[in-house]
Symmetry: C2
Subunit: 361 residues, 2 copies
Amino acid sequence: MTQASTPTLVTVAERAGVSRQTVSNVLNSPEIVRPDTRERVLRAIDELGYRTNVVARQLRTRRSFLLGLRMPPAADGISGQVLDRFLHALTEEAQGSGLRIMLFAAADDEAEIREYENLRTTTGIDGFVLTATHSGDTRTRWLSDHDIPFATFGRPWDPEPAGRAAEASAEGVPPKPGHHAWVDIDGRAGTRAATRHLLDAGHRRIAFLGWPEGSGVGDDRHAGWLAAYEEAGLEHAVVQRAEDGVAEGTAAANRALADPGVTALVCVSDSIALGALEAVRELARSEPDRAPVAITGFDDTPVAGAVGLTSVAQPIDQVAARIVEQLRAQIDGRPEDVPDHQVLIEPRLVVRTTSRTEHRR
Amino acid sequence: MTQASTPTLVTVAERAGVSRQTVSNVLNSPEIVRPDTRERVLRAIDELGYRTNVVARQLRTRRSFLLGLRMPPAADGISGQVLDRFLHALTEEAQGSGLRIMLFAAADDEAEIREYENLRTTTGIDGFVLTATHSGDTRTRWLSDHDIPFATFGRPWDPEPAGRAAEASAEGVPPKPGHHAWVDIDGRAGTRAATRHLLDAGHRRIAFLGWPEGSGVGDDRHAGWLAAYEEAGLEHAVVQRAEDGVAEGTAAANRALADPGVTALVCVSDSIALGALEAVRELARSEPDRAPVAITGFDDTPVAGAVGLTSVAQPIDQVAARIVEQLRAQIDGRPEDVPDHQVLIEPRLVVRTTSRTEHRR
DNA sequence: GTCCACTCTTGGATCGTTCAAACCCGGCTC
DNA sequence: GAGCCGGGTTTGAACGATCCAAGAGTGGAC
């Protein structure tokens, strides 16, 4: 009668002539097992094709090595392409660190918080990855308060949780670090590089096409444009705002280009930039005499590469790697081993044809 | 002393003055418990905030209600946007049926199969969702052979696994249904509707801009264009092929439009269509006399809506719903309850401005 | 009043792993 | 040689649920 069922610790133990615990030790703390015994056990494991049952382990240790991630609403924050790449990178990085990603859905932040609780108590999920942080985000606070490991893609956009520390110490609770673990891309540095690139090419009136004020990400990117102007010691020019979208981008660009002095457009996203590209082409047709208009986008989506759009590339792989690193450390209970809890990653300007319109000085 | 730890069945049982099994029955087969007892137990559950520990349950029952999904390589098969929406819909549908999605990464099909085995024996995953099926796909065969529940988004593109049934019956193995569970979108019907729509508008020479031959999805969409022509009793016109991409689309469109009789372009994807749109605008500029050229795309990505591109919308939600339905049935061991193991869903033509160029008859 | 049938409840065993403490045994000290 | 030490290994219990078979309770029929 062959061993039909999958082998367990006991099966392996019998085969190697030791006890279950010794087998367990070989797997979890091999250094405390005498080398020859270890060898014998390893051979038995190999012969039987034993694989540890993580469910049983989880029941005992209360560690799942599972990370929860809410599928963010498609239209929200990070755009489709970016999310896709992030999910990819995150899955790979997590897997490399012995973690797994579990998805869940939630209608809003409140539902998401309920789901945290739910997943935590029923499935024993170890931690969460949050995306699309925004100002007034209640999720981070809740997770901190419940001592649940988490890290966010996106920095906290609130001014400062000032009342927090005071309140905690007043109650005698050990003062937690007011800031949670997060990784973000330095949008400011991105648009600053893009703007500087255009200034270097001789452009002087560079318009910024942004999202409506109030979104942290958008305001941050706007700030980079401002900063480049300040550093150059110049007066900054036009700002036009619109919701994200190609058509919206065209409209915003047209408004900006109504100012005849504008020779370049720094856009808050590739969608806006694509729309702007359209407007610029139309303009070149209707006003052939006007100086060529340069454009930069943001996100470096595949479509940007296709149409030759200069754009700011987000190193998503790095973001995912750092997030996993931070979560892994929190789960292992050694958060002090990770030097930075807050990481700003500098994006990279990818220069293509749409910004190559050299401009007379 | 307050009850600090999370409540278990025993905690609830004590509170309700019954045994653990009764509590379990209330949860799993409430109909066999006397109403007043049930009421009392439910109250206790509620008061204590008891939540069943799925890990413990899983250890006993060997059911995880977990579905594995490989994060498909970004460039592959279904394009980014579609994948994104699919993941979304799948997560929601699964959650609605008491299932969860767990992601994993794999470099190629072989690695994916290894991961099936791995996830199955260690994590006890119940089934898998496969995307990007292709001809010569070894994954489905492996899963069938190992009796692991799965369903694919995408039909099997192989001619016919003819040798399969014969081989199986020769070995005395009970003949499995040769076909596995799959759900796909009827691309043929989609391009057929698009082409018919253009024929109805008076267009006669409608070019098809497709992918290189050999991809199941691409050939299927090509077939729809052919079918519409045949049904109309007309000679079909030009075909141009290119890899997916905006720039590639522009190039292909230019080649097609070299034929002066062509007045419309049916494109295999929105990317190609966007490129074609570019080519058509350029043409309108350089040859103002030429009749306006109509365009249709495929996938109905957000960008299509933005630029007014007529496109074929894939009802991804339905795909996800059917896949979950099939997997749920397989996991519950009642596959016969699902009427169709193979589902082709008809897409919907979304008419926008790019195909509204009425054409003289 | 006794017995039976039926319904609901109960305690024990089990899934596969890890924790905690006990055990064994050779080497060393006094 | 008794006692102690300590590395290496074993044993018993626990994690929290479900399965199984047997126990208790109720009501009706004779």
